[in-house]
Amino acid sequence: MKRAFAFFGLAAGALALSLAATRDASAIPPPFINDAAILGEMQLDGEVRVMPRTLREYGFFLDAAGRYPDLRLIPYELNTPLWSDGADKLRYIYVPEGKMIEASGEGLLRFPVGTAIIKTFAFGEGEDQRYIETRVLMHRADGWIALPYRWNAEQTEATLALAGGRIDLTTPQGEAISYRIPNKNQCKTCHSLDGAVVPIGPKARNMSPAVLGRLESAGKLAGVPEVDHPMPQWGDDTAPTAALARAYLDANCAHCHQPGGGASNSGLDLRWEQQDPFAIGVNKHPVAAGRGAGGMLVSIEPGNPDASIIVHRMDSNEPGVAMPELGRSSVDHKAVALIRRWIAEMAPAAGRPD
């Protein structure tokens, strides 16, 4: 591959000339990962496409159907993931040649410019598995950009869905829903901190030693960081309820509900590291919840899940009430049960992890 890069590097100028007339270069899958597409820079055809029209243009996958990732895509999993109507998620990190990820304590990994984080949302098992959308988060010189790509019915191509879209499907829970593909701005709504787009998921504390080790042995992470307070594995029934609950809230809510996040004005801070019970909602009155409050007085009333707004909003499917506002069209019943149990077991003024 290295040689191929060198070759294309040398030939780029000539190719730019010869391909200039071909407006849609994305019709030809590039035989390598297209760093220029990730970076939003001039491609071999002489064009700059800030928002490539097809997923294929990046060359992340060896086949048009996106089933076979390039070997330089490193798969990763999260301990406690964001829930998206029960979708299966295939996650990959791509870091360009010669670049490294740096750890930043237990928090979000620091990805170099040129990084792409790729996440495909799929429903169905085995042969019946269908890709719905692939979201691509790219680190460019001027910051991160998030773009949604929607798979066609034939499962042969994913095209840019700037304005998002809706698709009818049945969730693994057997619920028929209108699944929502977010638009580009909605990507940013969740992926925003202090007005800039940032990754959410890949925090060291939410990645297992095995996953971090995988990045390291791929030569892409300079040392596995020490994690004193790892988030538990979702589904680990031996983990304390409070830890599971706080991990879920961190992964599903805290990207907005934190200082500098999209819902900062609520004053609610659901990050894993937040230790102040009031900040996570204990006996906290709503600010701008409107009818979302559902007649309840506080976000969390210790010992009383039925009087806790957080449960009410997680358990609703209605726009204007449902939380999270984006990214789900059905209720995560398992999570609602967990949060109910956590609040029921909570002694007044409690609510800290571990």
Binding site: A163, N185, N265, G320, L326
Partner: protein
Amino acid sequence: MIRLTLAAALLASSAPLLAETHTITAGDGAQERLQETLILAEPGDEIVLEAGRYVLTDGLSLDVDGVTVRGAGMDGTVLDFTTQAGAGEGLLVTSDNVTLRDFALENPKGDGIKSKGADNIVYYRIRVTWTNGPDASNGAYGIYPVESTGVLVDGAKVTGASDAGIYVGQSNLITVRNSIAEANVAGIEIENSRNALVEHNIATRNTGGILVFDLPGLPVMGGGNVIVANNLVVANDTPNFAPPGNIVAGVRRGTGIMVMANDNVLIEDNIIDENPTAPIMVIAYTMGFEDERYNPLPRDVVVGNNLYGTGGDDPQLDGADMLLAAFGGALPPVLWDGLGSIYAVEGTAGWSLNLTEQGKGLGAANPSPLAAPVPAAEFDRSGIGAPAELDERIG
């Protein structure tokens, strides 16, 4: 793609010389067409929404600085969210220097238009209506700028919000004027904000007309420097239909202008009529709190000359009958809880609950006629209101 390079240069110089106009029509695919245009717009561009009814299933959002979204009038261009299936508001704006004008939103499931961290925003002749009238299942806020510096709301009309029609929160340099707030729980609410001018509005048939609040536990606190002047605050007599749990659910039916906490508030030259609980109410934050940064008292609230009609004649207060009997059939126009400090021009009739402690309820109330000192000095109006450049945008 040359345009992109140019756009970058223009961004740098912030002089949108090549501003484009994008025209959108109602009909099939309006959701995608409009949203794509909102995403692809460049700073300085104008998006024109031709007259028609746009049936939308998802919230819209705008994240590009300096864009104008212009409809064909608040009755001509209607964004209809009756069948909205997702998102927490009809339109979300997260960029600066945006102008929204001459269109309407109907029946958004959550809030109408929310602008967050969107500095120097103009809402001009925008209508947000929940068409079924007052209903707890309506969305919370019609027009909802928050965490922003520079907000101008002019000529807006909001009806049916289950919280506040026009709500400005955690913001600075604000003007709300020439607008109509009707049949909301709160007509116009200025919350945890500074330097706000609320003038020449009509607030009617709400539960409470105009509210100026400061609440604890929020990222931005210390509301104050607010002028409420030349408003028509009439017949705010709709029973409170806010979902319980929200702060406005505690607003009594028939409240005209209400100040809770805040410092330096001027209430002057308003016409206040037929508000059966209290034409003007000035009180401390009523609940307990633990936030050390927070001052729960109203300080230096000035009641200037206002024109008072009837009011205070059917108060939603404990012991209303006794109070009415004591005051001769109607309570005087200004109700103060006795906490903090209030000034009133000579001849202002009022009464005080004479509370001595904040957050302890009304148990210790010991009502008596108001004895407020006259204002010591001219109210300092400097720095209050939206920046003048926002006026120029709608000139």
